[in-house]
């Protein structure tokens, strides 16, 4: 989407990755015109792993309602269950979120392909992934959109 159409909050500039960053990202995503069309049925909880830094994102009807960072894992902590996880080293996330990414890192499907060096790994309930593929892909691509507007702003 055209970057100039996205407006940011002035108050702070959280860094990636952090719960605050994902919350700000979720706010901007909710204002994205395309998301308003294709994201309204997106109800899903998934985990984003950045070099071991884990964030659980919960979407309800297209709205990011909760971000939890580095939750405890185990049977006694099952309230924080997720349906699938997207894992990659920080360097891979950075390449993916570049304004013009290099080939093989330029789209969610490309960077999750098995042939991509240090690519993203998607694991978990693949049916949920495919049932939400259009909205999920857009949400992932919007990480790049948000990152590039966000990073251009002065601290």
């Amino acid at each position: 989407m055209p970057l100039e159409r996205v407006k940011l909050k002035e108050r702070y500039k959280p860094s990636f990755p952090s719960a605050e960053w994902f919350q700000a990202y979720g706010d901007e995503l909710s204002r994205d015109p395309e998301w308003k069309v294709i994201g309204k049925f997106f109800t899903c909880t998934y985990l984003i792993d950045v070099s071991g830094n884990r964030f659980i994102l919960t979407f309800v009807d297209g709205k990011l309602v909760n971000v939890k960072s580095n939750p405890l894992i185990g049977p006694l902590y099952s309230k924080d269950a997720w349906e699938f996880a997207v894992r990659a080293p920080l360097d891979t996330w950075k390449k993916f979120m570049q304004r013009i990414p290099p080939a093989k890192y330029h789209h969610f499907f490309a960077v999750t392909d098995a042939k991509t060096p240090q690519g993203m790994i998607v694991e978990g309930n693949m049916k949920t992934v495919w049932q939400n593929i259009r909205a999920l892909t857009h949400a992932m691509e919007f990480l790049r959109t948000f990152h590039n507007i966000h990073e251009r702003r002065p601290s």
Binding site: K104, H106, F109, D113, K115, W130, Q131, R134, T137
Partner: protein, 292 residues
Amino acid sequence: MAEVEPITGRYIHLRIDNSDYRVYFEESGQGIPVICGHTAGSDSRQWRHVLCDEYLQKNFRLIAFDLPGHGKSFPKDGWWMEEYRLRRDFYVKVILALAKGLKLTRPVFMGCSMGGNICPHLAILYPGFFRALIAVEASDYSGQVEGAKKGEDYSYDWFYHPHVHGGDASATSIYSLMAPQSPEKFKRETWWCYSQSAPGIFRGDLLFWGEEHDVRESASSIDTAKTLFYVFNGEYDWSTPPEHGKRLVSRIKGAKHVVMKNVGHFPMSENPEEFKKYLHPVMDEILAKSKQ
């Protein structure tokens, strides 16, 4: 005043394997015939920019067709009783039947993705029939062949699953194959065409593209003295990157490799202006050699 493009569409009936197929094709230009083959799960609309290319229209009769079950070509009668799977032999028969049905003299065949992968098969099975083959986004094999033999859990079934929106799934997956530099409008148009593919068609085509297609042992038999052979690959095409096309070229003596910068898997539809920069010199070469 309303603009009318120089493309005219018609239907031809082809008899293949005892079945009648009503095949749609559209064309423009005049001169050396060029049959344009679409990608898996899509249709002839992908070639609209090439067919509207005034430079090419001067010396080439540009023909884009819809494989049965794609675009405006219906599948054969009784299609509902079979699981769709594109077979190499059938694919070749359609192309040859079209060329012979239209009485084309030593045509060029230019195909993309599965259309590119069929090119070496055309050269191997019908040496000299085509004056040139332009294999866009092609490889010698996709890798899934060996994966399938090893029992790897690689499946195209998600593109044809009752709980998954096949149009969304197919279109969203292929959008990733296009370069970030390509115009958004044309990338979305490519997405749009895929979203309209009939149920099971993309999956069935991929079974040829990913599993059946394998010319590692046979490509060396292609004689480029009889049929010119070109392989094009876009740098952002993660499914058939330039290194895969280079493998195919290395197996065919006299074949030429064209690597396209800032372009992905659908150069003719995602960034037609960029594609023309690479296509025109090749077409000029074909034209020049035809005059010798």
